[in-house]
Symmetry: C2
Subunit: 243 residues, 2 copies
């Protein structure tokens, strides 16, 4: 697989129709490939002088630990996503990043990004779009934790993952592989593991979806969209805006 067909290129290609020259520039961001084991922090809060990464394969979680020891998972990262971009730009990491599975990622220095933007301003716009989309997801996450009930929150979360994975060719409308434990889902959504377990059983009994053994199977997409009021426009899936 060349970088021009990488999940990152597929994702940016959803916003900017990339030229051959731009695809080659993206190749240049994929030279320093590293592998990280699951369950050990790659980046920790307060760290400075670290790199950003683009995920090639595997899943990661970003989270914060509060002074009372409680954990808030901010988001999960999948192939094509940046890890730690915000922290590189803001110098000091404001959160921890831990691989959920074995993770393969390309190291990107702030100077690489600046060089790429200098050569390819359309790539800068595409990266800004990707960052804006990440912010839109955190906003939805805030609204979920602040205002949505547990069932709607879980369905919204699983539909959002489906849309994100579909963009990089890792999901269909029928479902997707998902390595997240119920414990991780609970800590992302501000719920208890018992509560997540009960809601997933209800969704299965209602014939809406089954999340079991690392796989989400969608039985009734329209039903899920209707009950969660899921509006995927914030994920912006209508094809390239910049031609």
């Amino acid at each position: 697989m060349t970088a021009s067909h990488s999940p990152f290129a597929r994702k940016l290609g959803a916003f900017v129709a990339l030229s051959d020259r731009e695809l080659i520039a993206l190749d240049g961001l994929h030279t320093r490939r590293k592998v990280f084991p699951s369950g050990r922090d790659m980046i920790h809060e307060g760290q400075t002088n670290h790199s950003a990464y683009i995920v090639a394969s595997g899943w990661a979680s970003s989270y914060k630990i509060l002074s009372d020891g409680s954990r808030q998972i901010v988001d999960f990262q999948i192939p094509g996503d940046f890890l730690g971009l915000r922290s590189v730009l803001c110098r000091t990491a404001d959160h921890n990043i831990e691989p959920v599975t074995t993770l393969e990622a390309s190291e990107v220095l702030a100077s690489d990004l600046l060089d790429t933007f200098t050569d390819m301003p359309r790539v800068a716009t595409a990266v800004l779009w990707a960052a804006s989309r990440d912010e839109a997801m955190v906003v939805e996450h805030l609204v979920g934790v602040g205002r949505r009930d547990a069932k709607v929150r879980i369905v919204h979360f699983l539909l959002e993952l489906k849309s994100r994975l579909k963009l990089v060719g890792m999901a269909t409308s029928a479902g997707y592989d998902c390595p997240l434990s119920q414990n991780l889902v609970a800590d992302a959504l501000g719920l208890s593991t018992v509560h997540v377990n009960r809601v997933l059983r209800e969704l299965r009994e209602d014939g809406l979806l089954t999340f079991r053994h690392g796989h989400v199977e969608i039985h009734d997409l329209d039903g899920l969209i209707a009950m969660s009021n899921f509006d995927r426009t914030y994920l912006d899936e209508e094809g390239p805006m910049l031609i």
Copy 2:
């Protein structure tokens, strides 16, 4: 006041030491100045083909209305901030924006941004930094609503505003003008207005701060930072990273 001394230039200047040429390019983003009255949406959720704006003076709030009619304020915008940048890049507005006071702002089209990035790649990096900082604030906001008690949440919020306003020359360590009603603060922090009122009275009686008549007066900054565990590194105030 020229744009080169605009709040926007001051803010980007915190990340990139801007050259004269870059300051002139920022001037180019300030040609279409508009005034919006308070209390009426400038941008509403689901709207397409709208512009983004850079705030010159005044305050705005961005918020979402849920299907049950409840409101979640996502953030407030102050001079130097973008309004609706994410929505322009993602085509469809995913939230509403309403001026809190009379608001003066410069209209910015997506094509203006792309043109500026093409001429000035360092400006692209600075705008990406500003977007990343906004995301960091939404993350803190998520952590606050998910995990912090009411008093810590309110103090954190008021200290964050102080840091943001200071960056654009509108606050000192002694305090700042703040046009937000207790009702707006409550809807941003997921609290009741009665609760916000009670906490503000406690903070005043404890000799920590007074928020009254549109002004926040800080009596004991160290005490506030200690009790809220406020860590301003996520606001990245150490001076330009790109020289």
